[in-house]
């Protein structure tokens, strides 16, 4: 099970080149090659089992609930791709050692290259679709870095950006497709997904899944209409083009099609869309390649065309076509990588890639020329070379197709035409570069490259020949196991031999070669004809498109984000309304079956007070003091309501909070204008807000009414039954707070503490002037601290503290508890502040309120942790009844200590807020002159 290490070895290898960058260049290259080399060995070790048809998979769970796992598999298809990625990768490392100049940062280049290698291995070996997607995006990012490696070059930057945008967008589509597919199948593991073909194809989501996957695959593999990014990616250093844009990354899209072939292929939509896209790309690429003067440009369009060929094969409805596709993936990777490397050598040793300047190089670099000619012959599909074999298989499969109905004969005809163009551009590559007169206007005299720069090309060309002559011995088993993985069931009969007798495919090959020759010989009129069309620069078009998108986005954004909080708040309420209203339409009647309580006079009076108070708050909202008074009236009636409906704890809390809130708001009002300026909002906004508010009120009221009158299953019975036995208290509300839902309470007092600290910080640097007169021009009262109030409040303080202690102690069994006691104590202290002033209090209260919050939270937290000592879950209550002489039997409980923490936090937070603000009115305030 060594294969599990394969994706990790190169991952570790990402840092190796960075570490060895300072050493000499050959050492750096060698060190970089070690870990990928080791990974290649591991794959080779597993090959015999893979050839035997075994599929390995292994996973480490991460978040099973989300279907996330680290999961790798090794089957024929992954083995084939891994060999290509690691094998060609190693050759590219060797090649780049000689290609990169002294100026280039070699460590950084290798690091990106290995990162890309890791990503590709991850794609081909992933057994989990989400993980596959992660690696898929990683290839886009590392390819962005590699294309833009020469970042001083504007073309490189633009090309990199274009490639990232197109493949990245495709990646997002793929993610959507993967999630849909995962939802349909119920698993993200490939083992499961690959065997659910029928389920997926009959599902209504099938079309959506297929389109999203195809967008992902076509963007990555440069299929029409997304092909335009690939030629511009040629601004990358040539080793990158050889590796990413011929052998590996652009094959990722094809890998995706092959990998999901058992799940997605087999329907009419698949055949038509995939084969037509492939066919069109095949023709377009082959035709365009002929007219490129740039060597790499020609190879780029040729790559597009060959990718189209493979896609077309995957879209033909025979199993042999899929086998031919796998075969051509290998062959194309091998001959195209060697051609790119040869083009790189020519560029490197002659200083140009322009075929109008490069002529007659045969004299200067005969060995490289020979190698390049063999490789391009393979590209053209000349017998005895690997390209010929897969092309023959391709021709065989185009015959006898029925996917286009009566128009199916077009497929072999168009394929032959495309093949003729392939022959023509291959001829051009050979003849224009190596013969055709003398070089024109080159900056340096061409010569053979360093010995080892040629080695990778030699190896690849040798493979072309070996595979071309002895297919069965060289790649037979690999092809078989990879095809098995694509088709997911036993393979049909097929023959890999070189000679199948005189038949139609051979005739098509012959026609293509003759046609190619004819096209090349007549190239001059063809070039002239092509010159009639205005040249479209994809970069300009693309930039224009992006600019338009940005403009639209800015327009929409400007519409949505106006910077007006009023508008946002309105939109929030409006959409909340849209979301909560529809479910109510399903409820038959608002009034449920429960009998209501009888109405009495007191309730009517309270209701009138509530409504009148709320209404008055709104009507007089401009007169802020009056609005505040009306608001406090409402708060008072609310606390009475709680008391009336059997909630004494709530009533006590509401009442004390009410007092604190009103004091706080009065204090704050001191710093605000006393009246709101007359409304400047438009009348239409006024009506709009009123309508939304009224509608939400109606809905909330209806829900409230329905909730009260419909029978309800509540979990409250549990609390009532267990409060005494489990929590040791008879006041169920308090037991819930300190015991059953103690963790909630702990969280809430923490929030309280944080809010208080936040407020303290907000106040700390505030620069706000204070008025000396009220709104009507009267000065504030001169006698700041009325004697009567100070005397009375001072004498009341012990009584207050006694009451709060009493309320606190009885809280577990009778209405009361830490929250209420804390609030009562706070009010008592605030009263002292009001009566004596902040300075007076500061002298007398030595404890800091921050400290008090900290003490409270620590006490509560430690009580919770304490239960761990006894092996119980966090915040389990302990209680015991103790008898003491004279006092009698009483209860000791850990909940009381927790409640003490609540008590301290509430006091600390409340007083920190009010005292900070109060302090602001005395010593720290600015003395700004008033009008």
């Amino acid at each position: 099970m060594y294969y599990f290490w394969v994706p990790f070895l190169p991952m570790l290898g990402i840092i190796v080149p960075l570490l060895t960058n300072k050493l000499n260049r050959s050492t750096c290259a060698l060190a970089t090659a070690i870990l990928p080399g080791l990974a290649l060995c591991l794959i080779i070790l597993e090959l015999s089992d893979v050839f035997a048809g075994q599929v390995f998979s292994q996973s480490i769970e991460w978040i099973p609930q989300l279907g996330l796992a680290l999961s790798f598999r090794l089957d024929g298809l992954s083995a084939l791709f891994s060999l290509l990625i690691l094998g060609i990768g190693l050759l590219v490392i060797l090649y780049a050692r000689y290609y990169l100049s002294e100026k280039d940062n070699m460590g950084r280049f290798y690091s990106y290259l290995i990162m890309f290698m890791t990503a590709m291995l991850g794609i081909v070996m992933s057994n989990n679709m989400l993980q596959l997607w992660f690696y898929w995006e990683l290839t886009s990012i590392s390819s962005f870095l590699l294309i833009g490696f020469w970042s001083h070059n504007s073309d490189a930057r633009k090309g990199a950006r274009m490639a990232l945008t197109v493949t990245g967008a495709g990646g997002l589509a793929l993610l959507a497709g993967i999630i849909l597919l995962g939802q349909v199948v119920g698993s993200y593991e490939l083992d499961v997904v690959l065997n659910s073909g029928e389920l997926v194809q009959q599902h209504p989501y099938y079309l959506a899944i297929l389109s999203l996957f195809l967008i992902g695959a076509f963007t990555k593999s440069a299929q029409f209409p997304f092909h335009f990014w690939l030629p511009h990616a040629m601004a990358a250093p040539t080793p990158v083009s050889a590796y990413l844009h011929s052998a590996t990354m652009v094959k990722a899209g094809i890998f995706l099609l092959a990998r999901f072939y058992p799940v997605l292929a087999g329907t009419e939509v698949w055949f038509i869309v995939v084969s037509l896209t492939g066919l069109f790309t095949l023709l377009l690429g082959a035709y365009s390649a002929l007219f490129k003067h740039d060597l790499k440009g020609l190879l780029a369009y040729s790559t597009i065309s060959h990718l189209g060929l493979i896609v077309l094969l995957l879209g033909l409805n025979t199993e042999l076509a899929a086998i031919a596709a796998v075969f051509h993936i290998m062959n194309h990777a091998i001959f195209k990588a060697s051609l790119f490397m040869a083009a790189g050598i020519i560029d490197h040793e002659s200083g140009s890639r322009d075929m109008r300047k490069l002529n007659g190089l045969w004299k200067y670099m005969p060995i490289t020329a020979t190698l390049a000619m063999v490789a391009s012959a393979s590209m053209a599909g000349v017998p005895l070379l690997n390209g010929f074999l897969s092309k023959e298989m391709f021709f065989t499969e185009t015959l006898g197709q029925s996917i286009l109905g009566s128009m199916s004969w077009l497929i072999p005809v168009l394929s032959t035409i495309a093949a003729a163009f392939a022959v023509a551009y291959s001829l051009r590559f050979i003849h224009d570069v190596f013969f055709n007169g003398e070089p024109r206007g080159l900056t340096k005299t061409p010569h053979e490259p360093p010995r080892y720069m040629r080695v990778p090309v030699e190896i690849l060309v040798a493979i072309c020949l070996l595979v071309g002559i002895f297919p069965n011995y060289t790649i037979g088993p690999l092809l078989e196991s990879a095809s098995l993985a694509v088709l997911n069931h036993p393979l049909p009969e097929y023959s890999l031999s070189l000679w199948h007798g005189f038949n139609i495919p051979l005739l098509m090959s012959g026609l293509a070669i003759v046609g190619g020759l004819a096209i090349y010989l007549n190239r001059k009129p063809l070039f002239k004809f092509e010159g009639l069309f205005p040249e479209i620069d994809a970069k300009v078009e693309f930039e224009g498109f992006i600019q338009t998108c940005v403009k639209w986005a800015q327009k929409i954004n400007a519409k949505l984000e106006t910077g007006s909080l009023q508008r946002y708040a309105f939109l929030l309420c409006f959409f909340a309304l849209l979301l909560i209203a529809p479910p109510l339409f399903d409820l038959d009647t608002t009034r449920g079956s429960l009998p209501g309580l009888p109405i009495n006079g007191a309730v009517i009076v309270a209701a009138i007070l509530l409504i009148a108070g709320s209404l008055a708050t709104v009507i007089w909202s401009h007169y802020r003091l009056i609005a505040l008074l009306m608001l406090s009236l409402v708060g008072l009636v609310v606390s009475i309501t709680f008391a009336y409906f059997s909630a004494p704890d709530l009533a006590l809390t509401q009442l004390s909070v009410e007092i604190v809130t009103v004091i706080l708001l009065l204090l704050a009002l001191y710093f605000f204008p006393q009246e709101t300026p007359t409304s400047k909002s438009r009348p239409s906004h006024f009506v709009r807000d009123m309508a939304v508010a009224a509608l939400i009120g109606c809905i909330i009221g209806s829900i409230c009414f329905a909730l009260m009158t419909h029978p309800l299953d509540s979990i409250s019975e549990f609390f009532l039954a267990n409060a005494k036995t489990g929590g040791g208290g008879t006041n169920v509300v308090n037991v819930i707070l300190v015991d059953f839902r103690g963790f909630d309470t702990f969280g809430e007092i923490t929030v309280l503490g944080i809010a208080a600290l936040g407020i303290h910080k907000l106040i700390a640097r505030m620069r706000l002037s204070m008025r000396t007169k009220d709104h009507d021009g009267r000065f504030w009262a001169k006698d700041k601290y009325p004697v009567l109030l100070s005397v009375v409040s001072q004498s009341l303080l012990p009584l207050f503290l006694l009451i709060s202690a009493y309320i606190f102690m009885r809280g577990h069994n009778l209405p009361g508890g830490g929250f209420i006691a804390g609030l009562i104590t706070s009010i008592a202290l605030i009263q002292q502040y009001l009566a004596h002033g902040v300075d007076w209090m500061t002298k007398r209260v030595s404890v800091s309120y921050h400290f008090m919050i900290a003490i409270g939270l620590t006490t509560a937290g430690l009580t919770g942790l304490g239960s761990w000592i006894f092996g119980r879950p966090f915040l389990t209550t302990w209680f015991e009844y103790v008898s003491l002489p004279w006092i009698g039997k009483f209860e000791l409980t850990s909940a009381l200590v927790f409640d003490l923490g609540v008590y301290f936090t509430v006091i600390g937070a409340t007083l920190l807020i009010l005292a900070s603000l109060g302090k602001f009115t005395t010593t720290e305030r600015l003395t700004v002159g008033e009008r």
Partner: protein, 117 residues
């Protein structure tokens, strides 16, 4: 009884939301407070209305639902912290921006003719 209660809750919600949609911070804080009263009453009522039977165990058969009460109790305290934070934030905004409008400045008034001069 339930009907009256629900009407009150709905009305208070409307008033609260309307005030929250106004343009000045102090009004907004008042609206927020009013809305939190309404929300607390609403949550409290989700356990049904009971008269004269607090959830203090004393051997009787009927008790008010203690769970909404416990939730509302902490909601009241947290609501206080939130109101306090909002009002102090409004003060700070007024101190730093010189305006107590929620957007930091009074919006340009297209309707009042005297502003056009």
């Amino acid at each position: 009884m339930e009907l009256i209660y629900a009407v009150c809750v709905g009305f208070m919600t409307s008033c609260g939301i309307f005030l929250m949609l106004r343009g000045h911070t102090f009004t907004l804080v008042i609206g927020l407070t009013l809305l939190s009263y309404a929300v607390n009453l609403f949550l409290f009522a989700s356990g049904g209305l009971t008269i004269g039977a607090p959830a203090v165990l004393n051997g009787s058969d009927i008790y008010a639902d203690p769970l909404p009460q416990a939730l509302v109790l902490t909601a009241i305290v947290i609501g206080f912290a939130m109101t306090a934070f909002a009002v102090i934030l409004a003060m700070r905004g007024r101190a730093d921006l010189g305006s107590d409008h929620v957007d930091g400045t009074e919006p340009f008034d297209r309707l009042a003719p005297e502003d056009k001069s």
